[in-house]
């Protein structure tokens, strides 16, 4: 494992500074350092390892405020047990209120006008007719566009009264009116005159020396809490930004030592996030406070960007996200729509709801495409000698198309060179999207690793066993051998007949990120009821349920009996949900707060029971005297003895117990059927073995893995943004021509989740969002395609046209 590269990856994803207008937050580790230094420590013995390989115990120095180490999942009552979603009943009945459902008294509806050219200067914006339309209450013209790259030297910007248009659909203005229809009508009345510039919307064309320049000078974009963004300290020539270069050893030397070398080019497409709830907010600007209901993955990120943009103290910005309809990495910060809604609310003196429409949602964010050149050298004994990756990708008017994560972090290889380039085009900005860069990188790496295995005459699983040091993936590969049909696979391309079946595998890698901005408050009321509060948001991953389990475990009460209040910045701060950070960051704070509240309760009631607090134990929802079990009270009876009406404890995430670098991953196995006459690929079966530290709620984790697998298949087979090269707009910005996997394409899926105790926090939990299958699936499908047909599919999506082309059966080929 390359530690330097991993270090970079670790600092990249949790970095909040992403929001362009926002002040960078202090690095989490620094923020908590003083407390960590001053607090006394004790030594505890923690469970460590993977049950299939045999667990052991390790000693850790932990702050004395930490609760005792948690037992293995089988020995716990609620943590680690499949637990129905805390808010499931509210979601299945449509009762949960999403941002799009918020309706405040006097609320106005807003809509944004977008540019109708892909590149140019706005000469004039006439909003007169829009303003006169009945029902219109406010119009706002945008002065600064967020979420795009910024010129390193602002003086190089083309002089213009309005922001230069750099992509079709770029927000220009917005209208708030008494109905959505009136707002939409008014937007249609806004007249914009442009001086149109030449443009380029295709990556390969944008690399040409004479291509139209998207930016008049070097430009950079920072990442978000979900990752993405690109390096700022790299050269830029024309539209080509980079390379970001990483070197380990000498690849020249490594390739010279190699017995076999494989070299190939890979192409992946632009994928849009397509969350079902679009980006949007309800903004309620009042002199005393700005309240924002936001469809976001980070209540804190939204608050911070609003505070920064409007120069408000953070204490006067309240962000609420109780229910959220999917983000997948694209929803952090205020966004153009958020800022505009707040401006409209301030002008109209009324709350304003602004949800993007589906067309706008396709343009606001995407996973960058890639063109990768990967060269791998290995020796006959199966050791890697060198890996070299050059990648070009476009994040439109943003950056963040790098793909080197898997090549850098999956396998041990002494010589490595990666060069990542971003290519600017006149298209909507890329954004972090579930494991940024990794599905692209794995698509290349895991096919080339299979190529090397074939050249070495090794089984792909066996070869990975030689080059992969991850104990978790070792167990996962063994599970593939035990639980799938892998041992019976035929040689590549030997399935007779036009419908060919094959099997393939791919591995994935992701990283342990922890955000110390993770706090919970747990309250016990005198009636024995228990509640938890945190600003953390549940974006569908099910963190509410995990928080309830943490509290439930401490008190021995059912998770559903704990009241969980999240998604409001009035509660203690929560982490932004990006990079699989949420569960590993916030669950220890929940457990610690519950533990501390419990200890306070015992201390408070012990005198009235005539015992000392350390003689009391809490289990199964009862407080008992340890030495005399006949003296036992329900939690309600015990709480009634509290001298005050409420006991409350607040805990903040302490740093991981050690500074070990930890990765997560999975190994996914797929069976495909390829119709070599129609070019249709059907995934028939998927078996996934995955790890995420201590699984907190296996039911929810497996749901996320199902989702990652299905998004991965959708990426491999169907999804593709299609730009009109002549007009510069996205041609399929809808959900009928932008094809997403549907019910009839769902394969049989089996998931096995392994426990991996790492002794790093009071829950030892980690997230699963990134390593849930999205990283590995396209490569696994491609490897299965090769096994089925004997032909390498180095381009996705594997649409019938692309498949027939690869099989040499397209019209183009036949006529050639």
């Amino acid at each position: 494992m390359d530690s330097e590269a991993l270090e970079q990856a670790q600092t990249k994803a949790p970095d909040h500074s992403a929001q362009k207008a926002a002040q960078p937050k202090p690095a989490p580790a620094k923020a908590a350092a003083p407390a960590a230094k001053t607090e006394a420590k004790r030594t505890d013995s923690f469970l460590y390892g993977i049950p299939q390989l045999g667990t052991t115990h390790v000693d850790r120095q932990v702050p004395i405020s930490e609760p005792p180490p948690l037992a293995a999942n089988p020995d716990l009552k609620y943590v680690g047990k499949p637990t129905p979603r805390y808010d499931g009943a509210l979601k299945v009945t449509g009762s949960g209120k999403y941002t799009a459902d918020i309706h405040l008294p006097g609320m106005l509806y807003a809509h944004m006008a977008g540019a109708t050219i892909p590149h140019g200067k706005i000469l004039s914006i006439d909003t007169t007719a829009a303003e006169k339309l009945p029902g219109v209450k406010a119009v706002h013209v945008i002065q600064h566009v967020l979420g795009v790259a910024e010129l390193r030297d602002p003086a190089k910007e083309i002089p213009s009264r309005y922001p230069i248009v750099r992509y079709y659909g770029q927000p220009i203005a917005a209208v708030a009116a008494t109905s959505q229809q009136a707002a939409n009508d008014a937007v249609a009345l806004i007249k914009v005159k442009y001086d149109a510039f030449p443009f380029v919307v295709e990556r390969h064309a944008a690399r040409a020396v004479d291509a139209p320049l998207v930016y008049p000078g070097p430009a950079d974009e920072a990442g978000t809490a979900g990752g993405g963004g690109g390096p700022a300290d790299v050269p830029q020539v024309g539209n080509v930004h980079g390379p970001a270069r990483k070197t380990v050893g000498s690849v020249e030397k490594g390739f010279a030592e190699a017995d076999v070398v494989v070299e190939a080019e890979y192409f992946t497409q632009v994928q849009t996030h397509s969350a079902l709830e679009t980006h949007g907010v309800v903004a309620d600007w009042k002199p005393e406070e700005l309240t924002v209901y936001a469809s976001t993955q980070g209540t804190a990120s939204v608050r911070d960007e609003f505070a920064s943009y409007f120069k408000l103290p953070k204490t006067k910005v309240r962000v609420i996200t109780e229910y959220m309809g999917g983000g997948f990495g694209a929803k952090f910060g205020a966004g153009n729509e958020g800022v505009v809604a707040a401006e409209l609310s301030r002008k109209a003196k009324a709350p304003v709801r602004l949800m993007l429409d589906r067309r706008q949602e396709h343009i606001v964010c995407n996973r960058p495409d890639s063109h990768q050149h990967l060269k791998i050298g290995a020796k006959h004994d199966g050791t890697l000698t060198a890996m070299q990756l050059t990648s070009y990708g476009t994040a439109g008017v943003g950056t963040g198309a790098g793909t080197a994560g898997p090549v850098t972090n999956m396998y041990k290889c002494p010589n490595l060179l990666t060069e990542e380039y971003d290519v600017f085009i006149n298209a909507g900005p890329g954004a972090a999207f579930r494991a940024p860069g990794h599905p692209q990188g794995c698509f290349a790496l895991e096919q080339s690793i299979d190529d090397v295995a074939e050249k070495l005459g090794m089984d792909p699983l066996e070869f990975r066993g030689k080059i992969d040091e991850s104990p978790a993936r070792k167990v996962e590969r063994q599970l593939i051998l035990e639980k799938t049909n892998w041992r019976n696979r035929h040689a590549a391309g030997t399935d007779p007949g036009p419908l060919k079946r094959g099997m393939g595998i791919s591995q994935s890698v992701w990283y342990r990120f922890v955000n110390l901005n993770s706090s919970c408050e747990v309250r016990i009321s005198k009636d024995g009821s228990v509640e938890l509060m945190s600003a953390v948001q549940d974006i569908g991953g099910g963190i509410k349920t995990v928080l309830a389990q943490c509290v439930a475990e401490e008190f021995g009460i059912p998770p559903q009996s704990v009241v969980i209040r999240v998604g409001d910045t009035r509660y203690p701060i929560g982490p932004d949900s990006g990079g699989s950070i949420t569960t590993g960051s916030i669950s220890p704070a929940a457990r610690n707060a519950a533990h501390q509240a419990k200890m306070q309760l015992l201390a408070a009631i012990a005198p009235s029971l005539g015992v000392s607090a350390d003689q009391l134990v809490v289990a199964d929802g009862r407080v008992s005297v340890a030495s005399d079990p006949s003296r036992s009270w329900t939690l309600r009876q015990a709480a009634a003895k509290m001298p005050t009406d409420e006991i409350s404890a607040r805990a903040t995430r302490v740093p991981d117990y050690t500074r070990d670098r930890i990765t997560y991953g999975g190994v996914d196995y797929v069976e495909v059927a390829v119709d070599t006459e129609t070019g249709r690929v059907h995934v028939e079966k998927v078996f996934g073995a995955h790890d995420c530290g201590r699984p907190m709620n296996p039911l929810g984790v497996i749901s996320q893995i199902n989702g990652g697998i299905l998004q991965g298949i959708s990426y491999a087979l169907f999804e593709q943004r299609i730009m009109d090269a002549g007009k510069g707009y996205m041609m399929n910005a809808n959900l009928e021509n932008y094809k997403i996997i549907g019910a009839k394409e769902i394969p049989e899926i089996e998931v096995v989740l392994i426990e991996n105790y790492i002794a790093q926090s009071s829950t030892d939990a980690a997230g699963i969002g990134e390593s849930a299958g999205i990283i590995a699936l396209a490569a696994a499908v491609a490897n299965a395609f090769y096994n089925a047909t004997g032909v390498r599919m180095r381009r996705i999506p594997m649409t019938p046209a692309n498949v027939l082309d690869a099989l040499g059966k397209s019209g183009k080929e036949m006529h050639a």
Binding site: V92, A100, Q180, S274, E277, G326, S703, N706, I740
Partner: protein, 221 residues
């Protein structure tokens, strides 16, 4: 529920622009044309472009509201009646998030004009069950975790309950077909299939019609 039946009530592109009188020109099936003309001429006087009063029969209760003729049923439910369980995702009939029932037929409320509903009985997600009294299908969704972000879930529930109403003994392909128009981005399909099949199995063993065990008892028709 066949795809054809869904299509007969999906026709907004034209409707938004032209209002109800010309509604028949782009409707695909003769059956739908007949019904639309009947609705448009005998039940819904031509008004507009200003707001007109209409009465919608939703989950057993009449609701009189004032809407512009171009207002979709989804907009009327969500914005005029604050019944926000019905979701709008694509707003053009591609994703089935806005599925409600009209006379028990699953229908895309984003593609149906409110003024065209007429006297047909509307069932929305709010009429299937409540958090305190879940429909068995909803309880099975929770048990199997057949939801993540939850935004597609109301539409999925409407499609799956309709399937069970029409076919108490569905197989996996029947369930896939029933939700073939419903998009889910979180990838909840495998558990939706499992939950729906489990309810069907349970209902079969109980040997009683689904509607009689329905949480709120509000299957209309």
């Amino acid at each position: 529920m066949s795809d054809t039946e869904k299509r007969t009530v999906t026709r907004r592109g034209f409707l938004k622009a032209a209002g109800a009188t010309a509604a028949s020109t782009v409707v695909e099936s003769a059956q739908a044309i007949t019904r639309d003309l009947r609705d448009a001429t005998s039940q819904t006087p031509v008004h507009g472009p200003g707001a007109v009063p209409i009465t919608l029969y939703i989950n057993g209760s009449p609701h009189t509201i004032s809407v512009e003729p171009r207002t979709t049923l989804a907009e009327a439910l969500r914005d005029n009646l604050a019944m926000t369980g019905t979701k709008v995702v694509c707003d053009r009939g591609s994703c089935s998030a806005s599925t409600v029932w009209l006379d028990k037929i699953p229908t895309l409320s984003c593609m149906t004009l409110a003024i065209d509903v007429g006297s047909r009985k509307i069932t929305t997600i709010e009429g299937i069950g409540t958090p305190e009294h879940l429909h068995p299908l909803q309880a099975a969704f929770v048990k199997h975790d057949a939801l993540q972000c939850g935004f597609c879930t109301p539409g999925m529930v409407m499609s799956c309950v309709a399937l069970l109403e029409q076919n108490p003994n569905p197989n996996l392909n029947d369930v896939k077909h029933a939700v073939s128009g419903n998009l889910c981005r979180c990838g909840t399909y495998p558990k939706i299939f499992a939950a729906t099949l489990e309810v069907a199995q349970t209902q079969k063993s109980l040997a009683q019609p689904l509607s009689s065990t329905n949480g709120k008892g509000v299957i209309h028709g």
